[in-house]
């Protein structure tokens, strides 16, 4: 094994990452992925010393470590693909090809990822994308999007149907692309970078901002105190409960179950209003900052939170207990949108999607950060891989997170005085920050140059892995079940498109 092993949020010298020949690099990472406890958290290319450097990061869940290796290649090179052997690499290699202009000899489907502004081939435009089609008199196509029926983000879904049944779904994204990764390099002011992190996905502000500040602090050799770690963990867990509750409302809505939609929907309000009490913003924008905070979590907030839960929890339980016993609800959720354990393993799915198929991907237990190392988190797992499993995981994670939150707010650490420090990253460094957001694993990683400026900033939202899960889950389902399948994953468009 010729890779460097590091921990979540550990800074290393970039030049200490082994540089292998491409063949060795490929073989090594493919062998690693044969082990069930390993999955690829990030694989990217960037311009380095006039050539292209490929960096592959594999997380080992049982060793709590991350194995990083690299290789050098050139633009217009045509390489054998990892994907031909391990599908989990498919999106990473498509991205490398799209951004760097590298070709692959045997990639099964090198379709564009997001048509970024800095793509290697400017001639390709999103409006002309040639969708996969099947020439048959018995099949028809249904195109949905990019503008959808609800108040949601844009993306295009192209179904090939046999009557009412979905034979194949192709998803094309990129409409939301704002150039976040390049802007991280261009915006020199730290506050601007934090705001970019807050804008990666506005439904996962705590998740992506925690990933950013933890990474930034690691690059600067700064260790956040217990108080900041506690704040960040509280924010992540409130965000998890709030979104999970909202998702149960949305699932109810998609099966036309009005009481669930109204009650779960309104139960989300006091949770996000707690963010407003805390930091003045319902989605926690402005809350998380590197090496300090404007909004320490106080005993008074803890009291307000615990008091709110006194009525919130009985209301939630009452609604859930009716919801999951109704035949009309269960008929729509059970055995709909099924994924198998083998499928999620193959595509490298993470988060709720993986856990609903008994695949235990959860950074809170495998690579704990902030307060999670003290929580001894046990992932909520289900086996059936259907919409109902994903709903159940939400319900049980809400219960579990409420337990963590009670523990955290009842035992707030002593606060240290902070003056938001302007830290400077160490030159020539590399670090990875993993966070288990409500949706799943977020991975940010960065390399700094000889002046300590960012050379590359990579963001991976869990959706990057999981959109493929949706495409597979709807096969052989009725097209009318697509909305509820989609909602059960609740993936991010902007987090994917960046």
């Amino acid at each position: 094994m010729n890779a460097i092993s590091l921990n979540n949020n550990e800074r290393i010298v970039f030049s200490s990452i082994p540089v292998l020949s491409y063949d060795q690099f490929m073989e090594q990472n493919l062998v690693l992925l044969e082990n069930d406890s390993c999955h690829c958290i990030s694989y990217f290319g960037f311009h380095f010393d006039g050539k292209i450097r490929l960096v592959c990061c594999i997380a080992d869940d049982t060793q709590n470590s991350i194995l990083v290796s690299s290789a050098v290649t050139l633009k217009d090179e045509c390489l054998p693909s990892f994907t031909a052997h391990q599908q989990a690499f498919h999106a990473f290699e498509r991205e490398i090809s799209e951004n760097m202009g590298i070709g692959y000899t045997d990639h099964p489907w090198l379709k564009p990822v997001r048509y970024p502004a800095n793509r290697a081939d400017r001639k390709l435009v999103i409006g002309n994308y040639p969708f996969y089609s099947i020439d048959s008199d018995e099949l028809h196509e249904v195109g949905v999007g990019p503008v959808h029926a609800g108040v949601i983000e844009p993306g295009h879904f192209r179904f090939i149907c046999n009557g009412e049944q979905i034979l194949h779904l192709e998803i094309q994204l990129g409409y939301q692309h704002r150039g976040i990764e390049s802007l991280f390099l261009e915006k020199k002011n730290l506050l601007q970078k934090v705001i970019l992190a807050e804008s990666i996905a506005g439904d996962t502000v705590a998740g992506h901002t925690t990933a950013f500040v933890n990474l930034w602090e690691s690059l600067c050799n700064y260790k956040a105190g217990k108080d900041l770690q506690s704040d960040r963990t509280i924010a992540l867990e409130i965000e998890r409960i709030a979104v999970h509750t909202g998702d149960l409302a949305a699932l109810s809505n998609d099966i036309a179950y009005q009481p669930g939609s109204a009650v779960f929907g309104r139960l989300r309000t006091p949770l996000i209003n707690h963010f407003q009490l805390w930091c003045g913003n319902r989605l926690a924008k402005g809350l998380i900052r590197p090496a300090g905070t404007h909004f320490p979590y106080t005993g008074q907030l803890a009291d307000q939170f615990l008091r709110m839960l006194e009525s919130w929890e009985p209301d939630f339980n009452e609604m859930w207990n009716v919801f999951h016993k109704l035949p009309g609800v269960m008929g729509r959720l059970e055995k709909t949108g099924i994924l198998s354990n083998e499928q999620v393993r193959q595509i490298g799915a993470v988060g709720i999607t993986a856990r609903s198929c008994n695949l235990g991907r959860d950074i809170r237990s495998s690579h704990p950060h902030d307060y999670y190392s003290q929580i001894n988190h046990q992932s909520v797992m289900k086996r059936h891989g259907d919409v109902y499993s994903r709903a159940q995981i939400r319900r049980e994670e809400i219960r579990q997170s409420l337990g963590y939150l009670r523990q955290l707010v009842n035992d707030l650490p002593v606060r240290e005085p902070y003056k938001l420090l302007q830290l400077q990253p160490e030159p020539g460094s590399f670090a990875i920050s993993l966070v288990e957001s409500w949706r799943g694993e977020i991975c940010h990683c960065a390399v700094t140059d000889k002046n300590g400026e960012l050379m590359i900033y990579k963001v991976k939202d869990p959706s990057f892995h999981n959109w493929m899960a949706l495409a597979l889950a709807v096969r052989n389902n009725e097209i009318s079940d697509f909305p509820v399948c989609n909602k059960s994953f609740n993936l991010s468009y902007c987090g994917h498109d960046l």
């Binding site: 029926a149 150039g179 407003q276 991010s492």
Partner: protein
């Protein structure tokens, strides 16, 4: 059946009775009040992530402001964000809050298109187009229709098709990849059609202003009927803004 009745009884009334006078809980960064005694505006301009602060006289442009509050942390006794959530207006310049001023942001009736109150005063159907929005404004626009804010009681609703809509609500800084679909969606709305910009990203591009992945040319082609600032927009900001847009001119005609 009985279980549902129990839930209905336990839930009680959840709606906000009067959305025009409701008080937002806790701290909220709404309309800022800036003291005219600021001397060190350079430090302010430097700290602001989007260049929303300019000098002579010192002012904050709510169309660029991300409500991060950093300026108020720098000069806590000179800049104060009030909980006034009524931030919407129909003239872009009115989003610029000057130092020494403490007056509400309002729509100017003379610039509201004549046909609006007659046609849409009691029923306004809107099509939402997210064009690079980060899903925060989208979540808040959805929240406008939930049982708490219940925007539907005023006849204001989001609809599934542009063909059924009276106007579009744009969120996000308008990406190049969404420029085409946005135009197609707008063209599909029957005339007369409104354009509402929801959120700082839509109004100015926000933190993304000037990024090569954007294409904001659509916005310079048409009259904008309503600007609703926020990061994201608060449901009360949106509902009050739209209510003024469809009601105000009538009052004054």
């Amino acid at each position: 059946m009985f279980d549902h009745l129990k839930i209905i009884i336990h839930q009680g009334k959840q709606y906000i009775p009067d959305v025009t006078t409701a008080v937002v809980p806790g701290i909220f960064r709404g309309r800022p009040v800036i003291s005219s005694e600021i001397s060190d505006w350079k430090a302010l301009a430097e700290i602001c992530p989007t260049g929303a602060i300019t000098s002579a006289p010192v002012s904050i442009d709510l169309g660029r402001c991300l409500f991060c509050g950093e300026c108020a942390f720098l000069f806590p006794d000179r800049i104060r964000f009030t909980t006034d959530y009524k931030l919407a207006c129909n003239v872009r310049e009115d989003l610029i809050i000057l130092s020494g001023e403490d007056k509400p942001v309002e729509l100017r009736p003379e610039f509201i298109r004549k046909e609006i109150s007659g046609l849409y005063g009691r029923s306004l159907k809107l099509r939402q187009v997210s064009a690079g929005g980060d899903n925060s404004c989208e979540l808040e626009l959805n929240a406008c229709g939930n049982v708490n804010f219940d925007m539907g009681r005023f006849g204001i609703e989001f609809v599934a098709s542009p063909r059924h809509a009276d106007g579009i609500v744009i969120t996000g800084p308008v990406t190049e990849n969404m420029a085409g679909p946005l135009q197609i969606c707008y063209d599909a709305v029957p005339e007369p059609r409104l354009i509402i910009l929801a959120g700082t990203d839509a109004i100015s591009g926000g933190i993304f202003d000037g990024a090569p992945a954007l294409n904001r040319s659509f916005l310079s082609k048409y009259q904008i009927d309503l600007y609703v600032p926020g990061n994201p927009v608060h449901p009360l900001t949106f509902i009050n803004g739209v209510l003024e847009l469809i009601k105000k001119r009538k009052k004054n005609d």
